[in-house]
Symmetry: C2
Subunit: 887 residues, 2 copies
Amino acid sequence: MNEYIYHFSQGSADGTASMKSLLGAKGAGLAEMARLGLSVPPGMTVSTEACRYYLERGGLPPGLLVDVQKGIERLEYITGRGWGDRTSPLLVSVRSGGAESMPGMMDSVLNVGLNEDTVEGLIEQSGDEIFALDCWRRMIQMYGVVVFGLDEELLQVPIDAAIARAEVSVAQDLSAGQWRAVIDEMRLSIVEEVGVGIPRDPTEQLWAAVGAVFESWNSPRAAAYRRLHHIGGGVGTAVNIMTMVFGNLDQKSASGVAFTRNPVTGAPQPYGEYLPCAQGEDVVSGNRTPRLLSAVEERMPAVYAELGSYFKRLEGHYRDMLELEFTVESGRLWILQVRKGMRTGQAAVRIALDMLDEELIDLDEAVMRVDPDRHVPDLLSPIIDPSVERPVAVVHGLAASPGAAVGRLVTGTAEAITRSRRGESVILVRPRTSTGDIDGVSAAKAVLTTTGGLTSHAASVARGLGIPCVCGAQELRIAPDGSGIFIGDNFIARGEPLTVDGSSGSVYLDTLPLIEGGEDERLQRFLEICDRQRRMEIRVNANDLDGARRGSALGAEGIGLCRTEQMLLSDSGRLMAMRRAILVGEEGEAAGALEDLLRFHRHDVAQILRTMMGWPVTFRLLDPPLSRFLPHDEVSINQTAAALEMEPEDVASRVESLKEANPMMGLRGCRLGVVHPSIYAMQVQAIVEASRMVIDDGIRPIVEILIPLVADVEELRRVVDQINQTIAEHLHGAHDSMSIELGAMIEIPRAALQAEEIAECVDFLCFGTNDLTQLSWGMSGEDSRRFMSTYLDEQILSHDPFETLDRTGVGELMRIAIQRGRRANPELFVGVCGDHARESGSARFFESLDIDYLTVEPSDVPMARVAAARAFVAYERALAAARMQAE
Amino acid sequence: MNEYIYHFSQGSADGTASMKSLLGAKGAGLAEMARLGLSVPPGMTVSTEACRYYLERGGLPPGLLVDVQKGIERLEYITGRGWGDRTSPLLVSVRSGGAESMPGMMDSVLNVGLNEDTVEGLIEQSGDEIFALDCWRRMIQMYGVVVFGLDEELLQVPIDAAIARAEVSVAQDLSAGQWRAVIDEMRLSIVEEVGVGIPRDPTEQLWAAVGAVFESWNSPRAAAYRRLHHIGGGVGTAVNIMTMVFGNLDQKSASGVAFTRNPVTGAPQPYGEYLPCAQGEDVVSGNRTPRLLSAVEERMPAVYAELGSYFKRLEGHYRDMLELEFTVESGRLWILQVRKGMRTGQAAVRIALDMLDEELIDLDEAVMRVDPDRHVPDLLSPIIDPSVERPVAVVHGLAASPGAAVGRLVTGTAEAITRSRRGESVILVRPRTSTGDIDGVSAAKAVLTTTGGLTSHAASVARGLGIPCVCGAQELRIAPDGSGIFIGDNFIARGEPLTVDGSSGSVYLDTLPLIEGGEDERLQRFLEICDRQRRMEIRVNANDLDGARRGSALGAEGIGLCRTEQMLLSDSGRLMAMRRAILVGEEGEAAGALEDLLRFHRHDVAQILRTMMGWPVTFRLLDPPLSRFLPHDEVSINQTAAALEMEPEDVASRVESLKEANPMMGLRGCRLGVVHPSIYAMQVQAIVEASRMVIDDGIRPIVEILIPLVADVEELRRVVDQINQTIAEHLHGAHDSMSIELGAMIEIPRAALQAEEIAECVDFLCFGTNDLTQLSWGMSGEDSRRFMSTYLDEQILSHDPFETLDRTGVGELMRIAIQRGRRANPELFVGVCGDHARESGSARFFESLDIDYLTVEPSDVPMARVAAARAFVAYERALAAARMQAE
């Protein structure tokens, strides 16, 4: 072992599973398997540090060449083959592998070491000219694409031409002579395109491949994947140089992918797919539809038994469901890769619960095994309404990623992106997908492929993204011009609506009705485990009965944000009463309008309080600028004028007079309460009277009033005084003992700084992280869309701060506010109600801030319950680790 | 002495001059004069603490009555008179007096103790029935207004009616019988209006008067005065209860006001005015035009001599120009009040310099004697263009407050306010002004009165506000219906233009041309003293030659903010090139437009650098959203389309596409530099090339580039890298050694928090306090106008944060930014370029933050030089005081 090189071979390794950031996930896995004595082809890992050196300085670190050369000599010694030897050549694969699993995203070159000399050695060694030539053409293809950056199609042309010339149906049927011609054409194409050919010297090939892999870290598609999966940049990839083994050597050879448990359902039986006489890339690429692993048992029982014993050892060691890449070369099993298996939400939850029951993991770890963002939505994702009779499916395939989706048929990635940008839902149909399709797949509502199995690229990417996928629908053909698809003789044109059910593998013509994902017993059990493991309360944002009911059903512990303006915007009667209150000049009339609003409000509040049955409900007083309630186009101005018996010009001029240059920072929030106190007074009166009504019904409501957009403590005091006065006026008699808690929104930077004084006036604080982000960044969420993509593409920002909470700026203001607030009032209850509350990545930060509750949209409640539990576990673990380090 | 009562009489006092906050300015002055042995009527001061107790709890503090009663007994003992005694009654005045001088703003009641019994005693004692009755009716009038809150006019009616009935011209000519009838009518009016009369019991009168004075602290007009003069609320007023002395007793009696130096010119001779046989209020009210003090020398030489000796003692003691109220009662001089004399800017500067030369004060103190906001503008205030021949003045009066103004004639306060809100300039003409006119006076460009002298209310308020005033223009009469004014037989209608020259006392018909205040030698000397006493640099905001020249002429030490967008908006050629760069789709055309802009920019930058002759110039790169440069109405869209050979629809749609919901927080500032790097590159190239040109001319320019709207350090790094690259590309050859410093605007809260990282990338920071205020408060400066008045009127905020820097929020962010910035870069140069930079009230705060420079509009440069000097002196004094306390 030296600075950059980590060797491994069956029974020993320089690295371990814990060295992921140095060796990449793949390298660490190989090292660990080698240590465990699994059958791993010997090789070495070039660490991510070398990659960083390369990316920063534009060259390989000094000494690296010599060390790799020594490693190659070690492989020569172990395998008994020679590097560049024309009788028994040593061939290696060069594969990337970052610290975070990025399946299919990075580049690899196989069969490095082949040239016109060594290929003859390989022919001799294998006794199979076609096999050896096939290895060589694969090497040429991959080298061309990875090192020279050529288009994949360019090097496919000679093969397709040869197939046509030879009048055979697949490349496997080409003769050795035909292959030699193909290879000559390929090499010529490269020289024509690039100006030079692939170097003959194996070492030169190796350096070029290593450099290309390093550079692939910064390729647009790798960057896109990292952004999509929120993997930070700047870490670099490791490179694994490993002795080649050949799944395509003979009929006793095969390549496959296996999962220790079922990655779609989570059922505790191994699941896998393989292709006889094929290299691993053939399985993943989806070019051929593979066979089930169970068939191996019949054909190669010893291999199957060895594999089964590996599954047990690895699961016992890693305590998780694992995915293995394996190759059988002439009956001998080799494991090429191990990693935690990508899984659907169903599988994640089931595996976590099963392993808990199997006592492989504890409660904390079970919680950590389910990703709230990727897994929970799977279980809640739409399904086809079971109450509706289904038509006959037009085609069936493998149920590769669960859930159902409807959308318009598209056959190209570019079209998928374009249409989805226009707001259309699209179903992407492809023969197979490859890494270049990633943007198209993530733009689609569902993916349908004609070839490939559950382990194909399309399937695993769709599962990763949580979108439904049906794979290997072999009866389906895509029209050569892409104008639609054929199923038998049926033609379905591009743009036609389809419904895809990724849970059953069926595809339907037309748009079937979807409903929200149903009850899942395992999910319920898992969510209850999460509830026991978390500290932060999860509440729901709900402004009406429906939201309140859905939130409660999904486990919300009260309403954390009831936006009262939404109540007033919910129907035309309420809206018109609000418009009257704003528009009429006469005080008497305005008072009349306020009376109407009071009645509406009281009714709506009482309904919600009855529904919430004694769970807390936070009513946020009117927040948006008044112009939000007013008509803006001519038609609605005229309608409003007619309804209010006003002149249209008067309405229009009042509307005009309320326009603001920067409405986000204008007369809104509690400024309305200061300038137009009668509106807040009406709202508070309605809340108090509704509370009295439900108390009379025997329900004991817990009512909180939240004051939005506080900028200054004196302003807050004024509004609090007015609210308390209104409460005192309207809460009397038997209801005296009821207390209504008051809170302040912290969404203005100044309020965060003044939190100590503010906390003296209220019982709780609630961070509005959307506005706090806008103001801390001086960046309107709406307007930033047009330049945020530049900031992300150019890696100036790693995240859009409106999607991922900015801990540096917004986070510091939150920390300051909580520290100061609790200094004044140690009992201060603190919540978060911005969009960031739903974001699991920020949950741990909120946990570390000692936030008491998060309030999220109804559909996000289950995710938030999981995220809060994970945050608690992760934070406690980090604290324990810090304590241990301190001791 | 006890808790609330501080006694004083000639030769002794409980209080001292330093107890202003406890005794009010008036009470502290009386105490000090009594200690110095000046002839002060005996009395007592009820402290501001009693007032605070009263305002907070709604009643007088316990024990206060007994203590005041004891104080009254002491006055009985000293004066030999009896409280409520019908033969020799003790009468007192009850006057308010806050810690800060608020001339005429607070209430007083004189002759307390008079009733139907004691008035007979006063008649006997004085031997003058009419005098005694006059005292009584004054007491009734003041009591009615102050205690009962009656309208002044109501109690004037019986007097006017009696004058009419008696067919005399002034009240002084009424007989004793007529006065008795008047008094009966007044007392009847009060009973009819209020339901009760003035209590007969002197003690009851006293309590009611004290309570009314306490309450007057919260009167709207007192609150308005405090707001206008930025005097904080919540302190309360003291009450001075003092034995009455009568300037209206006989022909050897008089009342007057005297200044130890001339308050208009500052000339070192005493100046004063008096009225024989009058009470003090007659002098101040402006009802009668008083005589000059010098006349006293002839008529009462002993009094004059005594007064002169007092001037010397007091100036020697207070080391400042003082204003005294005095009364002569039957030849005996009494001093009723002393305070620092209000003065014009001319006087302030002259007195400061004279006292410095007289070695009464030192350099530091001289600096503190001139108020940058009130005094400096006086010296810079407009004058009538001396190069133009003046017409004959229509009327002359006393030159009561210097400077000239033009505006339309108005005769009423309400009209003055209405018209000035509409943006009109008005000249307010009144017989006299009283405290109720304060809002009208401050709305006017100049004030003209028919009666009253230099010490009248109108004169002193106008001087306080720094607006021109001509007083006592006796030839002028206001039409009874207010429709205009008569000067002799000439009628000048309301709305006609007038020019008032407050420096000469002349008034002209029509609008004369005004020019900026001329060079004043004393001012120059004073400013140079300030330059020596200050630490903060003063720079100027200038975007063109004119601004650069004016700023330099007024003493700016470089340009602190050159807004490059203003250069591009300065003429239609530049504007159209900018529009072309934004609007044309073709890259080639855009490049052409950028070439044009480069040429324009280079020319403008070179001009400014040449003008500034080696002083530093800070160019701020483009800041506003691009839509700022685009046409928005149909006509200009069509013109632009024609000029750019585009279709109007294309222009309109591009304009539409650049619209933003909240442009203040949209694509602007350095975000432009990130999204459209070619624009910033063009600007930097222009700056570099212009610098090379002026270097070739032999000027060594100091160039700084300021990057606006920084939110994030990575964003800044990107822009800094681009700038440095452009500099490196275009700065070569002989100019290599030139260095261009880079700075970041701190105007986004997040940038303040990230200042440590930011400071590592730049040489200087500049706070944009306007935007920092907007974002810290979540309040658009533009939109807040419509609700800020409510916040101020209801005393939720003491200041508009856009006028006065908010130290709590914005100030804390500044403190954090400076602390963090200097942690990374101890040499970091830090400035302020928001509107607050010109605000003298914040200068001391900036001084305490160790701000290096302030940059202000050209006309504000002299004020800023004074403010910076005062800030330095004040801060050093505060530090010294703190050190002393620590030792």
